[in-house]
Symmetry: C2
Subunit: 339 residues, 2 copies
């Protein structure tokens, strides 16, 4: 690497004819330094092209102004949007974001959390609650401040910035039932190690149970969050012994995959079968028919997570969890059950 060696505080000190301490103060608490001195120092800094050395600073102050985000995958637009907002908000506060992804594996998450910690993250953004004891123990052991997003729980012991997946799923399922559907199938995300997927399933099950009237959940197929996989799940459902009148999907990608396959097979949505999504990413309004889905305030959630984490980092003890509301967005992929 050809990185030129940067000038140090000492170099600046020599030029400005003051001690390194004064320069440090001039940079970090300018009002503690005489105006004339401050200007002299600025000039020297400018002349030398000095920038504080990150390591030295981190070592001495034990702060990196860096926050880590550990998310399943950026390829999921949901997370990409949220993380984008999260980063923008951090950036406004002069904080930089480290990103690591887990590919939905809790083992990878553990590794990534450690890695981000090792890289000096002052705090962390985590997604969801399903993680092994090993991980939570480590977090507790190290006392890292963190916020958990994309879900919400009424647990004052942890900081949540998210929404209630189960409630949201309950709502859209109720809505589906309201359209007269009785034979229901679900394409869910992989529920292992994924509380959001689990809760979405639970919400649907619960709505069906509460509703009664002979509504039945014929089948749940779990699928990775990918178009192609979901298309296969759709096939599996359609080839089953009983064909549902609606498929509730665990997210928009799954729903889009299902709709696409339906189109390929000449099955018309929603005339022959209704399909619903979850998340309301861009995809949802672009597929034909446009998806009836659950709007999740991705941007707001990302921004709020950043703000709350930042407050926590600045020792604001008043910070508390934040629950976002979701709402069902009616578009055309859900219709009354065909007679």
């Amino acid at each position: 690497m050809t990185m030129k060696d940067a000038p140090t505080l000492e170099d600046v000190a020599r030029v400005a004819r003051v001690s390194t301490a004064t320069i440090s103060r001039s940079i970090n608490m300018p009002n503690k330094v005489a105006k004339a001195t401050h200007e002299r120092i600025q000039k020297a800094i400018e002349a030398l092209g000095y920038t504080p050395h990150f390591g030295g600073r981190a070592l001495a102050s034990n702060r990196t102004n860096t926050i880590g985000a550990v998310i399943p995958s950026m390829s999921n637009a949901m997370f990409a949007n949220g993380i984008q907002a999260f980063q923008e908000e951090l950036s406004d506060a002069g904080v930089t974001m480290l990103v690591a992804s887990t590919g939905y594996s809790t083992e990878a998450e553990y590794t990534q959390i450690r890695s981000l910690m090792a890289h000096g993250a002052d705090g962390l953004l985590l997604i969801g609650t399903d993680r092994p004891k090993k991980t939570t123990d480590f977090l507790a052991l190290r006392g890292v401040p963190y916020v958990i997003s994309w879900c919400y729980k009424d647990d004052p012991a942890q900081l949540f910035v998210g929404f209630d997946n189960q409630k949201a799923a309950f709502e859209i399922a109720t809505c589906v039932l309201g359209y007269g559907h009785r034979n229901i199938a679900m394409i869910a995300g992989i529920s292992k190690d994924n509380d959001r997927a689990k809760n979405r399933i639970a919400g649907v099950k619960n709505a069906i149970k509460v509703y009664g009237h002979g509504a039945r959940l014929l089948r749940i197929v779990e699928s990775p969050y990918m178009l192609a996989e979901s298309a296969n799940a759709f096939d599996e459902i359609m080839e089953g012994p009983e064909v549902p009148s609606v498929i509730i999907c665990g997210n928009d990608v799954l729903a889009a995959g299902a709709i696409t396959r339906a189109r390929e097979r000449g099955i018309s949505v929603p005339q022959q079968i209704s399909i619903t999504g979850f998340d309301d990413i861009g995809l949802a309004s672009v597929v034909d028919p446009a998806l009836t889905t659950v709007r999740v305030p991705q941007i707001e959630m990302g921004k709020a997570a950043a703000r709350i984490l930042l407050s926590k980092l600045s020792n604001d003890n008043t910070v508390s969890s934040l629950e976002f509301k979701t709402e069902v967005v009616l578009r055309s992929s859900l219709a009354r059950v065909p007679l």
Copy 2:
């Protein structure tokens, strides 16, 4: 902040009954340490939940094992996919990724580059070539290693890992012409400060010029990469004095926005008007009709960018630019011109 103070090398040393030097070696060059000692150390590290202190490490070694990525926005699936792959590859090498976004502003890019540098990035991933002298001067001054992605130029002075946007645009435009279209419009990305957008426009213009036969580019509307904006651009084109038989779009999001609006207006694609995209993100195969577009190898590009940047960082002087091929993917949104 309630960060407990983390265990240090010294703590581990005490527990493992070796010197700090040995531990450092055990971590960084395990083969230089006796197997038994290594295991004893591992055990101690585990027990204490030790992670190396970033600052100390950076200070002593003048390396942060951190790479910065400065991209326009993660909300664009193209970048999200690429960055995801980039990060995975870095992660495999034990390097962590810092991310900052510019919102397509070169001024913001300059700020973010400085910020990432200040945060100790060993190297940078940048997108595209359009940036002011101020920025390139700064990069040169500091001698940061960086690679430029999402575009390709035959310039040995810089390291490119990308594809030729102009050539790719030329190809899809040629393809469009091959389908008999003569009255062409384009919804392009905002070309200011964006060489990719510029080159895609240039490619299309060039194909039309070369082709001759009276083909005309009736109109170019530039639009931000958002569904709603693109839909408006579509309206603008359709309300113009001359209606084209095809709209070539600067990327898939723009194309999807146009298709959606066409559907809303009852204009059938491709019977009444053809529409093409660019990038081949998930969206492209989900819209109806599925988009004829240009496949850009996002994942491979991201991975390659990471590998090449890593080699560069490890002083491998043999690294050189890498050009990826793109290909037109024929789906149903492009048809022969209606008679």
